[in-house]
């Protein structure tokens, strides 16, 4: 049989990336949940927003046995964050940057911070925004993390400097330094002093 003569094959699985995403949702989510998530994916597509993070969020919820309303709610919140990130970072913001921006917003960074970063740096902000999110995840306040990242972007530091900062702050926190203090000291270029050991 000549494969080239095949005409209407496997539209669900093979029509393209959209169908591939649906197949994962259909396989893992309850039908009604999959339907609601698909509607959100459609909204994302119409707005030219990335859909893969939304699919991953739904799959994450399913793997953690979250109730369907919570799964749909999480996807909806992330979609909202992607929209807000697009507003703050601009229409030309590439997908990795948009996703990093959405994560930063959900971590508590104000939209104004993202807009300010955009004004300060024309090139991609994916790494600074990811580091901001990770600092907050380690216990640094969102406002402090936002200020730190803004300062570093304003100073024209490279992506590797942000990654180094994150690594150093993480190391300090593991030795017992309070997250905010660790950030302050690393920003000033000085290693943070660990608290005295308990007797």
């Amino acid at each position: 049989m000549n494969p080239a003569r095949l005409l209407l094959l496997a539209p669900i699985l093979f029509a393209g990336p959209l169908a591939a995403q649906d197949a994962r949702l259909e396989a893992r989510l309850a039908p009604e949940t999959a339907r609601e998530v698909r509607l959100l994916l459609d909204s994302a597509r119409h707005a030219a927003l990335p859909t893969e993070p939304l699919v991953q969020k739904a799959l994450e919820g399913q793997s953690k046995n979250a109730p369907p309303p919570r799964i749909v709610g999480a996807v909806r919140l992330l979609l909202g964050a992607l929209r807000d990130a697009r507003l703050a970072l601009g229409d030309d913001s590439p997908e990795p940057e948009l996703i990093a921006g959405a994560n930063a917003l959900r971590a508590g960074a104000p939209p104004a911070t993202l807009s300010a970063l955009r004004r300060q740096r024309g090139r991609e902000l994916t790494v600074p925004l990811s580091v901001l999110t990770d600092l907050v995840a380690r216990g640094v306040g969102a406002a402090a993390a936002s200020r730190a990242v803004s300062t570093m972007v304003g100073d024209g530091l490279a992506d590797r400097d942000f990654l180094l900062l994150r690594t150093q702050v993480e190391q300090d926190i593991r030795t017992g330094v309070a997250p905010g203090s660790a950030l302050d000291h690393r920003l000033s270029g000085l290693p943070a002093a660990a608290p005295p050991r308990q007797p």
Partner: protein, 180 residues
């Protein structure tokens, strides 16, 4: 993916290996799944899927509907799996029943072992190859009977019977083993 399948195929045709890589990344999961389940071995599946991608790249000029690249390449995969099964069956002892002679499908190595997968693999191994093929194409890959008929060259009534028999055999062998 920022490009359509058709656009990637067009780029790959002109020698853009990055575009072809993107196609492979996209189709490796369903191709790998089908090949692994059909052949019962991850190693055999890797070999067949690699072979499929190589043939697909070399035959891109004959893919007349680039937007259906996936289906076109999948038909290559199904045929490669059939060829591989024939080679495997010649290597193994032939059983005097209606199976195709693939007596012992290799089981996953220890580090990949998982109880449920093992159970299902054992159940799939009980199916004659043509029933396994029809069942996987219908219920796992989600193709219609018309589509399966195009790929396999088998008439629809025969395909439906194979799927029914496969489901019945699986129902019996999985009874009590899986919780719905």
């Amino acid at each position: 993916m920022g490009h359509t399948i058709a656009a990637l195929v067009a780029k790959a045709r002109s020698g853009d290996l990055n575009a072809f890589e993107a196609l492979m990344v996209h189709f490796r999961p369903p191709f790998g799944r089908y090949a692994w389940q059909m052949l019962g071995s991850r190693e055999e599946a890797e070999e067949v899927v690699q072979d499929t991608f190589l043939r697909a790249y070399r035959g891109l000029a004959s893919c007349r509907e680039p937007e259906r690249f996936g289906a076109w390449a999948f038909s290559i995969l199904v045929n490669r799996c059939r060829s591989r099964r024939r080679i495997l069956s010649r290597r193994n002892r032939f059983r005097a029943d209606d199976h195709d002679g693939v007596e012992s499908l290799s089981v996953p190595s220890r580090e990949e072992d998982h109880e449920l997968r093992e159970t299902i693999e054992r159940a799939l191994a009980l199916l004659p190859a043509e029933q396994r093929e029809a069942f996987l194409l219908k219920h796992v890959e989600g193709l219609s009977y018309g589509e399966i008929a195009e790929i396999t060259g088998t008439r629809i009534p025969a395909l439906k019977m194979r799927v029914l028999r496969a489901c019945e055999t699986l129902r019996i062998s999985l009874r009590g083993e899986l919780h719905a």
